[in-house]
């Protein structure tokens, strides 16, 4: 029964495999550690835009002392994340003693190949098994380490290990650089439209200055719906010069309060020595508040850079109204500006 299910699964995967391949082109090839190699094909969508990658893998694997060639098709997305695999008809994956994979083994292999949280993949190949002669206890020539055993398919340790390293090995960087070289406005927009933060990270880590400038509104849009540290990292990646532009400063005024603390800090750091619009300065002055004690000195220092008389008046008023104290360094800057403007700053407290 199980064998039958496995066969059905094979036929299903075979079907989808045969339907592809009219929109693909050979792109590069990857060398395997043991000297073998495989070719990677770029896939295109209906609009002729890059859509992902495919490769036919043939690699020798030895489980215990029995060796065989695994024969599978792998798929990756545009930023090199492994997506899925297909098995060729009449060439099922096997475990120790040439036992064919069961349906649950195929399922588990999919979850192994897509996981980045496994510890066994970080162990050198020759240390996966403890060298011991106690074959009786678990039936292996050497005993598989217990932590490893929990993560892999029993009897298919080296299949899992080898395939994971192919799926998540050097091919990932090659895919990334291939996609990067193909960056066009359309392709970038396509990646932005994907609901995949890893792909968005791939973008901000690889766009050049002009690509950032060209796609700035869309990239800023990603930040407002992002999770984790994406918005902080995005701010850190956006070229500094773009911070003096109007769209970016408008974005800051509109969204600053909704952004998390670390993104706010990253913004203040990026604005250092950049020209600030009057509305941005006024926004920051309004933001000086006893409740924001962690940011106040950074805000005051920033606003004081190239400040005009109108904003300086506002700043002095805000400091007097809120009673927020001023650090030694900021106080000196404040006095310096005031040498020309001669406002009454005697009410401002020093920290």
């Amino acid at each position: 029964m199980r064998w039958l299910l496995a066969q059905i699964l094979l036929l299903l995967t075979l079907g989808s495999f045969q339907m592809r391949d009219h929109l693909e082109e050979p792109s590069f090839s990857i060398k395997l550690e043991d000297g073998g190699r495989f070719d990677v094909y770029a896939l295109k969508d209906g609009n002729g835009l890059l859509d992902g990658y495919r490769a036919h893998i043939k690699a020798p694997v030895c489980e215990d002392r029995l060796c065989y060639d695994v024969n599978v098709i792998f798929y990756w997305n545009l930023n090199g994340e492994f997506l899925r695999y297909e098995v060729l008809p009449h060439d099922p994956l096997t475990k120790m003693d040439h036992e064919p994979f069961l349906p649950e083994d195929y399922k588990k292999l999919q979850s192994i190949l897509t996981s980045q949280d496994l510890s066994f993949v970080n162990i050198p190949k020759d240390e996966l098994v403890t060298k011991s002669d106690s074959s009786e206890v678990d039936g292996y020539t050497g005993a598989t380490k217990l932590t490893v055993k929990k993560e892999v398919i029993e009897g298919a340790l080296y299949t899992c290990y080898t395939l994971w390293h192919i799926a998540n090995g050097t091919v990932v960087e090659s895919i990334k650089s291939h996609t990067k070289n193909a960056f066009s406005k359309e392709l970038i927009r396509k990646i932005i439209a994907q609901d995949n933060q890893t792909a968005h990270y791939f973008l901000i880590n690889n766009l050049n200055s002009s690509q950032f400038a060209e796609n700035l509104p869309e990239i800023l849009g990603l930040m407002t719906s992002s999770k984790g540290y994406f918005s902080k990292n995005t701010i850190e990646k956006i070229p500094k010069t773009l911070f003096s532009t109007e769209p970016l400063q408008d974005f800051i005024v509109a969204n600053y309060q909704e952004l998390d603390y670390y993104t706010q800090l990253a913004i203040l750091k990026k604005l250092d020595n950049q020209r600030q619009s009057g509305s941005l300065k006024q926004f920051f002055i309004g933001h000086i508040d006893p409740k924001n004690s962690f940011q106040n000195q950074k805000l005051i220092g920033l606003v004081l850079q190239n400040i005009g008389p109108e904003e300086f008046g506002l700043l002095v008023g805000q400091l007097q109204a809120t009673g927020v104290g001023v650090s030694e360094e900021n106080f000196q800057a404040l006095q310096q500006v005031n040498e020309q403007l001669k406002l009454n700053i005697s009410m401002i407290q020093k920290l």
Partner: protein, 620 residues
């Protein structure tokens, strides 16, 4: 002439009106401990550290010492011990031993009489010389234990079984409490030498702070030491402070794995890192157990040497509770939390509807080795009832050999540890002597069983903020974020299968995980709400039970230590409290956290047990 007469009179008095003599010997002070180990884990409850014969079924080598008697003659002997296995089995006691005095073995077999710690009468001995050798002979190899031995020729004297009264007696007898030695006056006193405390001490020392580090074991590392053998967990070098964790990387072991051979845990690496810091005074084998406060400020901590019983005082400006158990906080009167909060307290989705006292448990890990020839294991009668269904045909017990959930991690800890060992011995006894597959285990021999149990949770000290589940899952970050926690919210529960087989007394656990983004723990969780100069790092920080699920792993507690050590340097410089730092000088701590305290040039070697996270970018 007058002098001579006086001497004569005095000597007559001495001979004819001899003062009754009582001699007390602490077992843990024995000069030669043979194969016996010093166990201090329960001294706050039963009154003392003690010697234990942890032979995993093979009697350990004799312990011996020399005792001076002020006068010769007949003495009654008392031994403070207990029959630890009797609470689970009425059969023959697990731990039994003999005492010999001056080469003559007393007829009495100790360790059999009473379940609780109490004095066993050992009969009478004749002391015929001033210096006499005592020796302890283990009979079973199964954790017989001796706290102290008393010899008395005072017919009116009977040693007390009341822990408080006994403690007073000890103090009067040895006089340690009257003359505590001053260890010194420090900027920063760190209590607890696990990953958190060790990192706190080093981080402070490297930032110019004079530190005392107090640890109640002979090694540093706590749960990551070779005494407990839990590997480090969680990630380091994360957003928003990628330099935090460099010290954990510097002093942590290269190899991962729980319950592995001793070398895996690299005790020396941690020890040398501390010894290389001229600003740290290290006090190993010292258990801190009293605190002097003045108006909510700790002035000093006093610790007992777990071998000699001597008392040492540590004065300081700032203190860190890195004990895991909140020991210093509780002694100082700090507010604390214990057990599981109900949903109504913080509105946590994972919290139970009704609060209870369930904590995560403590692990007693173990493993065996394969010998060339068959190895025997005593067919123990006091084992838990066992059968094929209960039998676990394995050669290593990992973290999930966890027990004590629902018991008190302080008051009941000896019982918890002992039950953990009992489960290990019971299963092993079955495999070796009764299993239908016992042939498979014929050459297997127990190599290591922990006697220092690995605790996950006990008391959490309350800070200005209590971190809760929603902070982690939404996530909701605060401006005073510090060390990022990245491990899943990993909460342990009794294993349902094991609970069916051992109703109400499971010794195995399961874990439930919820992934999170690396989350910077607010600084307000790292200092006490009501003790002005007390910080915390480790599992006893200010978090809910649910939030403890993520922060408790040791790369994370190590990073908390880094932060608390840095904070100590800011407090010193600004002459302020941790709360003062939060309110006025957090930018200085921020700058130190961005800089880091460990060697940033070292390669990242700790690829093991990083755990799943929702993080997108690998920093290192």
């Amino acid at each position: 002439m007058k002098k001579l007469t006086l001497l004569f009179l005095l000597s007559i008095c001495g001979a004819y009106a001899q003062k009754p003599t009582t001699v007390m010997v602490e077992a843990e002070s024995f000069k030669n401990k043979g194969g016996w180990v010093v166990d201090q884990q329960f001294m706050d409850v039963m009154g003392s550290s003690f010697l234990m014969a942890h032979g995993m079924g093979k009697p350990v080598a004799d312990a011996s010492t020399t005792v001076s008697f002020p006068s010769k003659g007949k003495y009654k002997v008392y031994v403070r011990t207990r029959n630890w296995s009797s609470q689970w089995s009425k059969k023959e006691a697990a731990g039994q031993f003999l005492l010999s005095v001056d080469g003559k073995t007393l007829p009495k077999t100790f360790g059999k009489d009473h379940a609780e710690w109490a004095w066993s009468e050992g009969g009478t001995v004749k002391i015929s010389k001033k210096e006499v050798i005592l020796s302890l002979k283990d009979l079973t190899g199964f954790n017989g234990r001796v706290d102290a031995i008393i010899f008395t020729n005072d017919p009116a004297f009977k040693p007390t079984n009341d822990v408080k009264a006994l403690s007073d007696f000890r103090n009067d007898y040895f006089g340690f409490d009257r003359n505590p030695k001053l260890a010194g006056d420090f900027d920063f006193v760190v209590v607890g030498g696990g990953m958190a405390g060790t990192c706190a001490a080093i981080a402070a020392a490297r930032n110019g702070v004079k530190v005392a580090l107090i640890q109640n074991r002979p090694v540093l590392g706590g749960n990551n030491s070779s005494e407990v053998r839990v590997h480090l967990g969680g990630r380091i070098n994360l957003e928003p402070y990628p330099a935090l964790g460099n010290l954990v990387n510097e002093i942590g072991p290269k190899e991962g794995g729980n319950a592995q051979p001793k070398d895996y845990y690299e005790d020396d690496k941690k020890m040398n890192a501390v010894l290389n810091e001229p600003n740290i005074s290290l006090f190993l084998n010292h258990h801190a157990n009293s605190v002097e406060t003045n108006n909510g400020t700790i002035e000093s901590v006093t610790a007992t040497n777990i071998e000699t019983g001597e008392r040492v005082i540590f004065k300081g400006a700032l203190f860190a509770d890195c004990t895991g158990d909140g020991t210093i906080g509780i002694l100082a009167g700090a507010e604390y939390m214990i057990g599981r909060e109900s949903q109504s307290v913080y509105g946590e989705p994972t919290a139970p509807e009704v609060a209870d006292n369930l904590t995560m448990g403590a692990s007693v890990q173990w493993f065996s080795e394969t010998k060339d020839t068959p190895a025997t294991f005593p067919d123990i009668q006091w084992a838990l009832p066992w059968d094929e269904e209960k039998s676990e045909e394995i050669t290593k017990g990992d973290w999930e050999w966890e027990t004590g959930m629902g018991l008190d991690m302080k008051l009941d800890f000896e019982q918890i540890r002992d039950y953990g060992m009992l489960a290990v011995y019971s299963n092993w006894n079955y495999l070796k002597n009764h299993s239908k597959n016992k042939e498979k285990f014929a050459k297997e021999s127990l190599r290591w069983v922990a006697f220092i149990a690995g605790k996950r949770e006990s008391v959490r000290l309350k800070g200005d903020y209590v971190l809760i589940e929603q902070d982690l899952t939404i996530p909701r970050v605060y401006p005073d974020g510090t060390a990022p926690t990245s491990w899943t919210i990993d909460l342990h529960y009794p294993d349902p299968e094991n609970s069916k087989l051992f109703p109400g007394a499971a010794f195995k656990s399961i874990a439930k995980h919820t992934k999170i983004y690396p989350y910077p723990i607010p600084f307000r969780c790292l200092y006490s709400k009501n003790i002005n100069n007390l910080m915390m790092a480790g599992r006893d920080i200010s978090v809910s039970h649910v939030a403890l699920g993520t922060v408790r792993v040791m790369r994370t507690t190590g990073m908390m230590g880094e932060v608390v050590g840095m904070a100590a340097s800011v407090c010193k410089k600004e002459n302020t409290t941790p709360r003062g730092l939060y309110q006025k000088h957090f930018d200085q701590l921020e700058a130190l956290m961005l800089k880091g305290v460990g060697d940033p040039t070292l390669p990242y070697i700790q690829g093991y047990n990083n755990g799943g996270t929702l993080m997108e970018i690998k920093k290192k």
